[in-house]
C-alpha cells in the first residue's frame, strides 16, 4: 500500500549489507589449547537441534528422527551396534536364536534400574514390546519393525523369549534402534500424555523439564550403570546437565554455535560445514544415517516410467555429479547404491549411472518419444514427456532442493519436463498417496539391509489414501519379492549378504532409482566439547562420554 517500486535501491542496500557481512564473518578467534588433560565432571552442554520439536518424547509413539536424537540421551535398547557393524550387548548381555528361527532368547543384565526405581527385568521387556504392538500407542517405526513378533514370554526375571511368526534375520538390528528402546513399565502405565512428557528409561540422563516450543532440560542420572559395550567409560556421565533447544533456522543455529551460545548443533548445512572446517573453534562430526541412501525413485507403476527404456533414458540424461559437487561443496559423496554407505551389505554400481545424453536420446527415440514440441520437450502421441516431482520441504535440505532444480535443467535439454512441487510434509504424503508423482525423494532410516524389503517388496506398493506404503518406485517383481523374503529369514550371514546383493542388483539394473548420496547427518560442535560420538545404530549422537574441556 505504501510500498514504492524501488527495486534498484533495495538491491543496492542488499549489496551493501552483503559486503559488510563478508568483511565481518572473516574474523573469529580460534580457541586456546586443551585446558584439561582428562575428562572433567560437571557443566551444562547446550545442544541446538534443527529438527522439528518432537511432539512426544517417548519414541515408541510415532517414531521419527527428532525423537531418536533426544531419546538416545535417556533411553537404552536391548542391543547396540559397534563401529564395525556388529551387534553388541547393551541391556541384554546374551541372545540366541532357536533352531527353527521362530524364537529368540535374551539374557538381561540383572543390576539395572529404571530412573523411577523400577527394576529392568523380563517382565519390563515384555511390557515394552506389548506397548509397541498396541495400536493405541500409535507406534509406526517400532510397530513395523516388530511385524514378525507374535508374543513375548518372561522365562525368568532375567530371561525373555520373543516368539516369531517366521524367522527374522533383522530382529537384532530392529531392536538396536532407539524407537524400540526399553522404558519403565511403571512409567508407561501412567498413560500416553504423561509418558510423552516425561518418559523414564535407564539412560545416562533423565528428562527434567520440557518447556514446549523452547527447550528440554535433561539432568545426569547419578545411579547410571548400563553403558553399551563400546562406551569409553563406566559410571555416571560427565555432564551434569543438557539443555536441548530447537533452532529451526540454519543460519542462526550456526551463528549461535559460533557465538558460543550453544555447544553443538545438528543438521549442519553444506555451506556451514565448509565454513566450520576453517574455524579452529569448531569441529565436525559426520555420521551418515543407516538404511537407505538418498535417492530419486522413479515411479514404475504408471507411464512414462513403466517403460524401462524411459527410466534409463532419464538416468542417463541428468548430470547429478556436477550438481552434487557444486551444491554440496564436496561435503556429500555421490552414491550408486540403494543402501547407505554405512550398511556393510551395500552394493553399488557406478557404471549404471554415467551421464550419457546421447544414449538417453536414443532410448527415448526407441520408446516412441521421438518428436519434440515447440518448447523442445519430447512428445509421444500428442502427450508431452512430463514428470511430476513433489518435494518435501521438511525433508529435503535447501541444497537438495537446488539439486532438483539442476536435475530439472539438465533433463530439459534431453526433452524431459520436470515439474517441481515444493510441499509441506502432510501435502507431500497426500501427493504420494494419490499416486500423483513420477519422481520422488523419500529418505528412510532403518538399521540394516532389511530396509530393502520395506522399500522394494511389492507388498509396499499400494498407494491407498490411508495406507502405509514405502515402495515409491512401485517395483512389482516376484523374483525380487522372493529374494527379499528369503533374505529376511536366513540366519547364515553369507547367504544373507548374497541375497541382499542380488536384490540391490535387480533394483539398480531395473533403473528404478537414481541414487544421490547418503542421508546427510553432520553435527558441528565447539572444539572444547570432547568425547561426543554418534551411536552406530542410527547415527544419533550420545553425550554419555561427552565432557567440557574449559
Amino acid at each position: 500500500m505504501f510500498r514504492a517500486p524501488l527495486s534498484p535501491r533495495r538491491a543496492a542496500g542488499g549489496a551493501l549489507g552483503l559486503a559488510a557481512l563478508l568483511l565481518l564473518t572473516g574474523c573469529s578467534a580460534p580457541d586456546a589449547a586443551p585446558a584439561n588433560s582428562g575428562p572433567v565432571t560437571g557443566g551444562t552442554l547446550t545442544y541446538a537441534s534443527g529438527d522439528a520439536e518432537p511432539t512426544c518424547l517417548d519414541p515408541h509413539v510415532g517414531g521419527n528422527y527428532p525423537q531418536a536424537l533426544i531419546s538416545t540421551q535417556y533411553l537404552e535398547s536391548l542391543v547396540s551396534k559397534n563401529a564395525d557393524g556388529e551387534i553388541i550387548p547393551w541391556l541384554a548381555t546374551e541372545w540366541a536364536e532357536a533352531e527353527d528361527g521362530l524364537s529368540w532368547t535374551f539374557t538381561l543384565r540383572d543390576d539395572v534400574m529404571f530412573t523411577d526405581g523400577t527394576p529392568l527385568d523380563a517382565e519390563a521387556v515384555r511390557a515394552n514390546i506389548a506397548h509397541l504392538q498396541d495400536p493405541e500407542t500409535l507406534s509406526s517405526t517400532g510397530y513395523l519393525a516388530l511385524g514378525k513378533v507374535t508374543s513375548t514370554e518372561a522365562v525368568d526375571p532375567s530371561t525373555v523369549r520373543v516368539l516369531l511368526s517366521e524367522p527374522d534375520s533383522a530382529l537384532l538390528e530392529s531392536l538396536s534402534q532407539p524407537w524400540l528402546a526399553i522404558q519403565s513399565p511403571t512409567a508407561i502405565a501412567r498413560g500416553m500424555d504423561e509418558n510423552c512428557a516425561s518418559p523414564v528409561g535407564t539412560g545416562p540422563f533423565v528428562v527434567e523439564e520440557w518447556n514446549r516450543q523452547n527447550s528440554i532440560t535433561l539432568v545426569r542420572n547419578e545411579d547410571y550403570t548400563s553403558p553399551p559395550a563400546d562406551a569409553e567409560h563406566d559410571g555416571p556421565a560427565y555432564l551434569e546437565r543438557i539443555v536441548w533447544r530447537f533452532l529451526p533456522d540454519s543460519a542462526s543455529r550456526y551463528a549461535a554455535l559460533q557465538a558460543g551460545e550453544v555447544d553443538m548443533i545438528d543438521n549442519a548445512q553444506p555451506d556451514t560445514i565448509v565454513q566450520a572446517a576453517q574455524d579452529d573453534a569448531l569441529e565436525e562430526l559426520d555420521a551418515p544415517r543407516p538404511g537407505a541412501s538418498n535417492r530419486l525413485e522413479l515411479n514404475s507403476g504408471k507411464p512414462p516410467f513403466d517403460d524401462v527404456r524411459v527410466r534409463e533414458a532419464f538416468i542417463r540424461s541428468v548430470n547429478v555429479d556436477d550438481a552434487v559437487e557444486g551444491l554440496f561443496f564436496g561435503t556429500a559423496e555421490r552414491s550408486y547404491s540403494p543402501l547407505s554407505s554405512v550398511e556393510p551389505l551395500a552394493v553399488g554400481d557406478e557404471s549404471l549411472f554415467g551421464f550419457d545424453p546421447e544414449a538417453g536420446a536414443a532410448l527415448l527415440d526407441e520408446a516412441g518419444w521421438s518428436e519434440r514440441d515447440a518448447e523442445g520437450y519430447r512428445v509421444r502421441e500428442g502427450q508431452r514427456l512430463t514428470l511430476r516431482l513433489p518435494v518435501s520441504t521438511n525433508q529435503s535440505i535447501p541444497a537438495e532442493q537446488s539439486l532438483f532444480e539442476q536435475v530439472q535443467a539438465t533433463a530439459r535439454d534431453a526433452g524431459f519436463e520436470i515439474v517441481l512441487e515444493p510441499l509441506d510434509l502432510s501435502s507431500w504424503y497426500g501427493a504420494l498417496a494419490a499416486n500423483e508423482y513420477d519422481l520422488v525423494s523419500a529418505p528412510y532410516t532403518k538399521v540394516g539391509p532389511d530396509v530393502l524389503r520395506i522399500l522394494y517388496h511389492s507388498d509396499g506398493t499400494t498407494p491407498a489414501p490411508s495406507g502405509y506404503f514405502a515402495n515409491h518406485a512401485q517395483v512389482r517383481n516376484p523374483e525380487l519379492d522372493a529374494i527379499l523374503t528369503e533374505a529376511g529369514q536366513v540366519s547364515d550371514p553369507d547367504r544373507r549378504a548374497e541375497l541382499y546383493a542380488e536384490a540391490q542388483r535387480i533394483v539398480l539394473e531395473g533403473f528404478y532409482i537414481l541414487p544421490l548420496y547418503d542421508q546427510q547427518n553432520t553435527y558441528l560442535l565447539r572444539s572444547d566439547v570432547r568425547g561426543v560420538r554418534a551411536l552406530p545404530t542410527v547415527s544419533a549422537p550420545t553425550l554419555y562420554d561427552a565432557w567440557l574441556d574449559r
Partner: protein, 321 residues
C-alpha cells in the same frame, strides 16, 4: 418513558454502541474460526499423517486409523466443523493434536513472549519514525531526500533478510548481542529491531507527509505568529496532527508485527505465538491454529477499539462527532 427520551438517551446510545460493537466482534471471531477451519482442511494432506509422520517416518494403517478415531477425523467435515464450533462456543479451545496439551495452556505460555516482542517493536518503530519524521522535515533538500529514502528502503526490507544481516553483523561479527533468545534482555534486541525497522519505514513515511501538511496549515502559521518557537510548533501542534494517521495504522501495524513474529521467532528461536502458529499449520493442528488465530483476532479487535479511542483523544473533531 418513551416520551421522556433525553435522560436515558446517552446511556442508551452507549449501550447500543457496545452491543453493536460486541456483536460485530463475535461475528468477526466466528468468521475467523470458520475460515481458518476450512482453510486448513482444504490444504491437501491428511492431518493424521501430519500428527504421526514426522520427517523420515512412515505411519502404519493401524496407527492412522487410531489417530483418526481419537480426533474425530473420520467424521464428515460438516460434523467436525459443528463439533469444533460447539466446543468454541462454550469457551473450550480444545486439545492440540500435535503437542497433546490443552490449547489454552499453550496459548497462555506463548502469548506473553509475543506480546512483549510486539509491544517493544511497536514502541521502537514509533520512536524511530517520530525521530526520522521530525528530523527530515526540518527543511532542506538533503534531510528530506535521506528521510524519504530510508523510509522506503526500511519498509521494503523483508524480515528474514534483516534478521540474518543483524545476526551476522552484531552477533557473529561484533559479538554484541546473542543470535538467539536468551534469558536476559540482550536477546530481545535483535528480534525487536528486526520487527521495528520495516514498520518504522511505513509509519515514518505517513508521519512525514502529514507533518509537512500540518506545518503548512493555518494553525501552524498562527502559532508561529503568536511567537511560539519552531520546536514548540512541531511538538505541540504539528506532531499531534501528524500522528493521527499513524495512530490509525497502529491496529494494522499489530497484524503486521504478528505476521513478522512468525519469521522472527523462528529465526531467533524465541518461544511465541508466531512460531506456534507455524508449527501448528504444518502439523494441520486445527485446534491450535484456530486458538492462535482467535487470540490474534481478539487482540486486533481490542487494539482497534483502543486506536479509535486514541484518535479521539488526539483529534477533538472526532469527539464532537
Amino acid at each position: 418513558m418513551t416520551t421522556d427520551r433525553a435522560p436515558v438517551g446517552v446511556p442508551f446510545r452507549f449501550a447500543r454502541w457496545l452491543l453493536v460493537r460486541s456483536a460485530g466482534a463475535l461475528f468477526v471471531l466466528w468468521a475467523v474460526a470458520t475460515l481458518t477451519f476450512f482453510a486448513i482442511r482444504l490444504i491437501p494432506g491428511d492431518p493424521a499423517e501430519a500428527i504421526l509422520g514426522g520427517p523420515g517416518s512412515q505411519a502404519s494403517d493401524e496407527a492412522l486409523a487410531a489417530v483418526r478415531a481419537e480426533y474425530g477425523l473420520d467424521q464428515p467435515l460438516a460434523v467436525q466443523y459443528l463439533a469444533a464450533l460447539g466446543r468454541l462456543a462454550t469457551g473450550d479451545l480444545g486439545t492440540s493434536y500435535s503437542l497433546r496439551t490443552s490449547v489454552s495452556t499453550l496459548l497462555a505460555e506463548q502469548l506473553p513472549g509475543t506480546m512483549l516482542l510486539a509491544a517493544l517493536s511497536l514502541s521502537v518503530a514509533w520512536m524511530l519514525a517520530l525521530a526520522l519524521a521530525t528530523w527530515s522535515t526540518r527543511g532542506g533538500r538533503v534531510p528530506a531526500a535521506v528521510g524519504a529514502g530510508l523510509e522506503v528502503v526500511a519498509a521494503a526490507l523483508p524480515h528474514f533478510w534483516i534478521a540474518i544481516v543483524l545476526i551476522l553483523v552484531f552477533s557473529t561479527g561484533l559479538g554484541w548481542f546473542p543470535p538467539i533468545s536468551t534469558a536476559g534482555p540482550a536477546g530481545l534486541v535483535l528480534p525487536v529491531v528486526t520487527l521495528a525497522l520495516p514498520l518504522a519505514g511505513f509509519l515514518g513515511s505517513i508521519m512525514r507527509e502529514s507533518l509537512l501538511d500540518a506545518l503548512e496549515a493555518p494553525f501552524a502559521l498562527s502559532a508561529r505568529a503568536r511567537g511560539e518557537s519552531e520546536l514548540g510548533v512541531r511538538l505541540v501542534h504539528a506532531l499531534r496532527h501528524a500522528a493521527l494517521p499513524a495512530i490509525g495504522l497502529s491496529g494494522w501495524a499489530f497484524g503486521f508485527l504478528i505476521s513478522g513474529a512468525v519469521v522472527v521467532e523462528t529465526i531467533f528461536a524465541r518461544p511465541g505465538l508466531g512460531r506456534t502458529l507455524l508449527t501448528a499449520v504444518t502439523a494441520r493442528d486445527i485446534p491450535l491454529v484456530i486458538g492462535v488465530v482467535l487470540v490474534v483476532a481478539a487482540a486486533y479487535i481490542v487494539l482497534t477499539v483502543l486506536t479509535d479511542a486514541a484518535s479521539r483523544l488526539a483529534d477533538p473533531r472526532l469527539r464532537a462527532a
